[in-house]
């Protein structure tokens, strides 16, 4: 029973199993390991002492590598700055990531120096004075998609730097459209007509699959359809609600009609977020679907999909006279306003958002770049052809309402729009919602 003599101990050691000799061995070994550990630490310290040490906090994304590996590359690439990575929970636990960041930023002690943030937190962090305005360091943002720059701007100041993105998009069944001899629809009415025709011909049980659950994704679906009718949720100054204006009401009415009148969507969409809406589509039971980019690899996986090579992706439709809009998602970079090492932070930020690193993130994590010209990059085209095809979708990327009280506005939107779908009384519910949002943002 002398695990100790063999080397490092993994897991708990049963004290009762150990004789006196092996206990002494254990003590010796652990002392040796302790010393080695101290020495190791000493080395890092010594190296870090001659350099500026900054910290980088981010939700944990995984692919062929992790964000910690990115920090290692940066640390090895130069000898002036040492970045310590603070790993937050994965993006699926978005509320926990948010709490973790807020707790650290609210301490105002300069940690973390650099952080990544979901697009919807940017205004709140800026209003709280936690995010350093970045305009003077990054005056030129024309290489990024304009939607991402808009989402990174609060009160006419750039307070975040675009990093990687995703957005809503229209998935369609290529085989069904071909059979009908139809083009990919560019207006909502065309989409509804085609969807109903495919249902009538028995090609697919459902016409249009979307997400109506009282959850954050409902806000995304709403932003897309309202914007594509030249409407908006908030006025440009963020101080008043526009959800009860005719453009927004007509857009929400269209979504309600897909369930109640045109019946191209099942009533189930009201309890669906992303995955429940994805499953019937990849099972071959729907003609059109609104979803994020993660669906495509699943649709192309023969083990999980009945529609391999039958699926196409296009920008979401718009109303007559409107422009296609895609709700912007993804994580963007920020610098802590209380950071003691601004120049080092700016240097690291510049590196993280550079074309070279964005390309590496695209290839190794499958996260789409925010730099438009990377979509013409030969390596990305060869290794991530689907991602490269999304340039036209991402051009229409639209930010969710930009307000420091976004989370309150979002909860109000989820509740109000869900009530409109349940009662069918769209105008009345949107009026009540506008009153509630005005109370929040006033």
């Amino acid at each position: 029973m002398t695990h100790t003599a063999k080397g490092p101990v993994h897991g708990p050691v049963k004290l009762a199993d150990r004789s006196m000799t092996s206990r002494r061995q254990f003590l010796q070994t652990s002392a040796a390991f302790g010393a080695a550990g101290m020495a190791g630490l000493g080395v890092t310290r010594a190296r870090a002492q001659s350099r500026v040490e900054i910290s980088f906090a981010s939700a944990a994304f995984f692919g062929k590598e992790s964000f910690g590996d990115l920090c290692d590359t940066f640390n090895e690439s130069q000898d002036r700055i040492f970045v310590r990575f603070i790993e937050l929970p994965p993006p699926s636990s978005s509320t926990e990531v948010f709490q973790g960041l807020v707790q650290q930023l609210a301490r105002a002690d300069g940690t973390p120096d650099v952080f990544s943030q979901d697009v919807i937190w940017i205004a709140g962090f800026a209003e709280a004075g936690w995010a350093l305005p970045l305009g003077e360091y990054f005056p030129d943002t024309k290489d990024y998609f304009s939607g991402t720059v808009a989402a990174c701007t609060y009160n006419n100041q750039l307070t975040a730097l675009p990093w990687f993105m995703d957005s809503g998009m229209l998935y369609y069944r290529r085989d069904i459209l071909e059979k009908m001899g139809a083009e990919v629809p560019t207006t909502w009415d065309q989409m509804a007509t085609l969807a109903a025709a495919a249902q009538g011909a028995g090609d697919a049980e459902f016409g249009y699959l979307w997400q109506g659950k009282q959850a954050e994704v409902l806000v995304c679906d709403a932003v897309e359809i309202i914007t594509s009718n030249n409407g908006a949720i908030l006025a440009a100054d963020g101080k008043s609600a526009l959800v009860n204006q005719p453009e927004a009401v007509a857009a929400i009415q269209f979504l309600y009609d897909t369930i109640a009148t045109t019946k191209i969507s099942p009533q189930n969409v009201l309890s669906w977020d992303e995955e429940p809406s994805r499953m019937p589509f990849t099972a071959g039971r729907g003609t059109f679907m609104r979803n994020w980019s993660y669906v495509y690899p699943i649709a192309q996986d023969p083990a999980a999909s009945d529609v391999v090579d039958k699926v196409g992706v296009a920008p979401l439709p718009a109303f007559d006279g409107g422009k296609s809009a895609a709700c912007l998602g993804g994580y963007q970079l920020g610098i802590n306003a209380n950071s003691k090492y601004r120049e080092a932070a700016v240097e690291f930020l510049t590196w993280l958002s550079s074309a070279e690193v964005q390309q590496r993130i695209a290839l190794n994590f499958g996260l789409a770049p925010t730099r438009a010209n990377l979509f013409d990059d030969a390596t990305i085209k060869a290794e991530q052809p689907f991602m490269a095809s999304l340039q036209s979708v991402f051009t229409g990327a639209t930010a969710r309402p930009i307000t420091p009280k976004y989370s309150e506005v979002s909860l109000a939107l989820q509740s109000g729009i869900s009530k409109a779908f349940v009662s069918g009384n769209v105008q009345a519910e949107m009026d009540a919602l506008a009153t509630e949002i005005n109370r929040i943002v006033a």
């Binding site: 807020v102 189930n268 309890s271």
Partner: protein, 292 residues
């Protein structure tokens, strides 16, 4: 003499410190926060008197959530008590394999609620759910029901899941209560010619009443805090029809970081739970007086 009074207090001190730091302090601090406009995002932290309570009185969503929570508590506690009592009455009798059945009965209760929630999510799924399939085959419905996507059925789906999960707990408590009733009493009743129903109604039930009330109170206070089932299954929707006080206060506290107003909602929960407990206690005391 001083030593005589001081010593017991000294011995009690660790318990006081422990309780004070983990129970009393959070409650007092929560009540204090409920009188402030503390918010991490707007970085305000001022005492605002009864402003939050005035807002609470006019907050339609709060009252809706309050109503849903009370409804959920009343219906689920009642169903769990009745079904639990029936299970206890069966399990108190001797029959072959009783030990295994008693152990198996506890499985739903031993499962983490999040697992139960996911499981019922699939059972009641509007498209692929087994419940819809069975009901369709039996001809009880003519098309798939969208159980937790429709405001008419969403709360019932959650109640059914809770009843499935927590009835074993009630059955276990009531079984212990039944076992304390001396067999001689039921035997005497049988000798006097009482039928099963009369024995239950006039002998067992009155003696079981204190246990029934305590179990009911424990269950009601627990049901009042329902969170996981709602959070996983519906997120409070559709159209706020399943929003409960726990999910609402979680959203206000941790999604919007309004610690002031969120604490006001929590304090309102605290007061309501106190009132529920009070009603049970008053009823219990009156019953015990009547018995003695």
């Amino acid at each position: 003499m001083l030593r005589g009074t001081l010593w017991p207090w000294l011995l009690l001190l660790p318990a006081f410190v422990a309780l004070g730091s983990v129970a009393l302090y959070p409650i007092v601090n929560g009540i204090y926060l409920s009188f402030t406009n503390t918010s991490l995002i707007s970085r305000t932290d001022d005492f605002t008197g009864f402003d939050n309570y005035a807002r609470l009185m006019g907050d339609a969503l709060f009252w809706k959530a309050w109503g849903h929570t009370m409804w959920f508590t009343a219906v689920s506690t009642l169903l769990e008590t009745l079904i639990g009592l029936a299970m206890a009455l069966v399990l108190v009798e001797a029959f072959p394999g009783r030990g295994i059945v008693r152990a198996a009965m506890l499985i739903p209760w031993a499962m983490p609620t999040v697992v139960t929630s996911k499981m019922f999510g699939w059972l009641f799924d509007g498209q692929f759910g087994v419940i819809n399939y069975v009901l369709l085959q039996l001809g009880l419905i003519d098309q798939n029901v969208n159980w937790y996507g429709s405001p008419d059925t969403a709360m019932w789906t959650i109640i059914i899941a809770d009843v499935w999960k927590t009835t074993p707990f009630m059955a276990l408590l009531l079984l212990t209560g039944l076992q304390t009733i001396p067999a001689s009493l039921t035997e005497a009743a049988r000798m006097d010619g009482a039928k099963a129903w009369a024995t239950f109604w006039h002998v067992r039930l009155p003696l079981l009443l204190p246990t029934l009330l305590i179990a009911g109170m424990l269950r009601a206070l627990d049901a009042f805090r329902v969170f996981d089932l709602v959070y996983v299954l519906t997120g409070g929707g559709p159209g706020d029809s399943t929003e409960t006080l726990s999910t609402l206060s979680y959203k206000v506290l941790f999604a919007t970081l309004q610690f002031g107003y969120g604490s006001t909602i929590s304090t309102a929960m605290f007061i309501t739970e106190g009132l529920i407990a009070l009603v049970f206690v008053i009823f219990m005391v009156s019953q015990l007086r009547r018995l003695s």
